[in-house]
């Protein structure tokens, strides 16, 4: 296990190197640069700015310079926000994205999990049909439709929650639901399937035969095994919720990292785009690693 972990960790830098290299050059192939503006800059002003950010050097030199900086943990200055460094902006945005992602995943586990288990033990009855149709809807509705719809109903019509912004728990509700609905629905389906698979197995029948109450049978005996597929899904889901909040952050005006990612790509803010890409890839790689380790821990059949 330890050897596996060390091996994976050693592989990390090369994965990141490939990602950084690819993003660096793809970014530069895109037409337009960070200082192309509606109002063209006078040539000499442009020259001055490009010199300031080393954009006047050869591409290879810039690439090597960037690698050196990243290796030292310096993601560089933001071109668009000259007062700030990329590290600073990620530091500001990440806690926000993390909060939002955690709420969405929390919602998925609590609501989705409960609904799935309920649907399984009441299978082929009204509760089952109802939750599973809702889950089907949840998986199908894209968040850029759901978000504005929720705003319209709960913020504008009913006035219960703010339209957009960040800072209070009330600001968290709509975006968490928007971001979390897909995962909630998916978890519900997984939990139902997992429960159905377990509920007919011998050890559950034994528990029943012992005369245990149904709640104990389900809660203590069936649930731990049934929840396995859900747990293994949570890794990718968590990573997805963290990196996939781009649209939700834009719709709800949330100061997370996803919004920087979008604006910086549109603005050709090279360092900021690369910085978020590096950070996101690190996040994904680490989450995948955690999930793989959890697999080994939860499922005795898996060993490394």
């Amino acid at each position: 296990m330890l050897r596996y972990l060390v091996g994976r960790l050693l592989g990390l830098p090369s994965v990141l190197l490939v990602i950084v290299t690819a993003s660096f050059f793809i970014m530069r192939v895109a037409p337009g640069g960070p200082f192309d503006m509606e109002r063209a800059l006078p040539t000499e002003v442009r020259t001055n700015i490009e010199a300031k950010y080393h954009l006047d050097e050869s591409l290879v030199r810039q690439y090597l310079r960037y690698l050196g900086d990243v290796a030292r943990g310096d993601l560089g200055p933001s071109f668009r926000y000259p007062d700030r460094t990329v590290t600073e902006l990620i530091g500001l945005g990440f806690p926000v994205s993390l909060t939002l992602g955690a709420c969405a995943i929390g919602l998925a586990v609590v609501v989705g999990g409960t609904a799935g288990v309920l649907a399984a033990i009441r299978r082929n009855r009204l509760v089952d049909y109802l939750t599973m149709s809702l889950a089907l809807g949840g998986v199908s509705i894209p968040n850029f439709v759901l978000g504005p719809f929720l705003i319209l109903v709960f913020a504008l019509q009913l006035g219960w929650l703010p339209v957009a912004g960040w800072g209070t728990w009330r600001h968290l509700v709509l975006p968490s639901v928007t971001l979390g609905l897909f995962y909630t629905a998916y978890v519900a389906r997984l939990a139902r399937a997992g429960m159905l698979e377990v509920i007919f197995q011998d050890f559950v029948r034994t528990a029943r035969a012992k005369g245990l109450r149904e709640a104990v049978v389900v809660g203590r005996h069936a649930l731990p095994s049934a929840v396995l597929p859900v747990v293994s899904y949570l890794g990718p889901a968590a990573a997805g919720a963290l990196t996939g909040s781009v649209v939700v952050e834009t719709i709800f005006g949330i100061p997370g990292i996803g919004r920087y990612f979008v604006t910086s790509a549109l603005n050709r803010d090279y360092t900021m785009v690369l910085g978020t890409v590096v950070f996101y890839s690190l996040l994904l790689v680490v989450f995948n690693l955690i999930v793989d380790c959890l697999y080994a821990y939860l499922d005795p059949r898996v060993t490394y």
Binding site: A40, L98, L156, V231
Partner: protein, 526 residues
Amino acid sequence: MRRILVAGATWAVALMAAVLGAGAAGAQEQVFRVNNTAEPESLDPGLVTGVPEHRIISNLFEGLTTTDPKDLSPRPGMARSWTVSKDGLVYTFQLREATWTDRRKVTAHDFVYAWERVLNPKTGAKYAQQLYYLRNGEEYNKGQVTDFSQVGVKALDDKTLQATLRCPTAYFLDLTSFYTLYPVPKWAIEAHGKDWVKPGKIVSNGPFRLASWVPQRELVLEKNASHWDAATVKLQKAVFIPTDDINTAYKQFLAGDSDWIPTVPPAQIDAAKQRPEYYVTPYLGTYYFRFNVTKPPLSDGRVRKALSMAVDRESLVKFVTKAGEIPTSGFVPAGMRGYEGVRGLPYDPAAAKRLLAEAGFPDGKGFPKTELLYNTNELHRVITQAVQQMWRETLGIQVELANVEWKVYLARQSKLDYQISRAGWIGDYVDPNTFLDMWITGGGNNQTGWSNKRYDELVAKAGCGIVDPKERMKALQEAEKILVVDEVPIVPLYTYVNKGMLSRKVKGWQPNILDQHPLKYLSIEK
């Protein structure tokens, strides 16, 4: 996973605590909330170039002059008074007694430092050209002059600043109210580097000071009680919300989360018009199409004229843009002090057809494949579609639409890699020059390949040489006529309007051509 959930929960609790704290303090009356449409790129007056930045910085700092909220003419600011030499070249400003927020005195040296900083090539200031009006300003920025004492700005003493210009510049006092020319605190910049604009470090001299700034979330200004004109200021606080999704911003306004939104989503115009908060005023900007005159068929003036005369601008603004835009065939918007605009080519389908036939394309026959470039935007899409249809119906030609992303659009335009493209131009200051000097041969914003000797001469003369204002305006008029009647490298379509929503409780609001509303004149009444 559990650790992450715990961490998430901790954050949630911390957030809740922050909210409860904020709720208790948020009970004042004089708070103005602005949907600023974007996160400010910076608060450094020397580095920024945008409008969202202007809305904040123009209240945080103050230049030699300020602007009249109604007609935007220069008013005394840090300068109590000024004199101009007879040849229009030397401006001598007498500064008033005023202090920075750290109680230091504002002196003429602060201006000299700020202007040197903007012109210094190492600063990389994008708006350095705003100081090219100074003698040797451009040369210093280009590195041709390295001794700053050669540049036309001098502190005669602590309270007297002298600016020497390259040419008489009629609108120099308008420029001194613009952020690029604001004074900045040398000591704070030297102590904190690029961090000097952050809360707790920033030192400013305007009617408001920075209270807090959380990027992408909220920026709060509060009244600066030590400002010389604090008696005029009624607002206690101004909150800037950087919602960049205009649909969300519009909904926030409807929900009462903001008092002003300076734009309305095109799809909501009809609904917005029904509300009492909707306002629309002319804007100092022109929406137009560019022709790439270096390639046929658009190298032929007759083709360009035909295309221009086949556009029904009245219908365009009435049925397509719909917000009250003003159709125009001239390029300089109306409302410039002392300037009478030029009428461009009229809408005349018959004449347009004739011209196209003369150019060798009767009823559009044989007209080569032509592309109209625009950047991704709902409004540009419907406008280009409408014009495409007008050209097809009137001239019988089929123009293809090419939709590209913003930066691609900019790059293709500047490389002349297009045939026709949509464009817009917003004036920097209230003078026709800001609309006409861009079309000179090889000008960075020309981007049509068009060149005309007489035009260059007239603009150069108006920019430097003619001191008499009437003569100067005449020269500019003649230039505009060449642009929109004789040569037509562009098709002006309409004058932009400011369309926004303003809460009825805001008082002291003056509509103006730049949609600039200094906070110091506003107040809130329930």
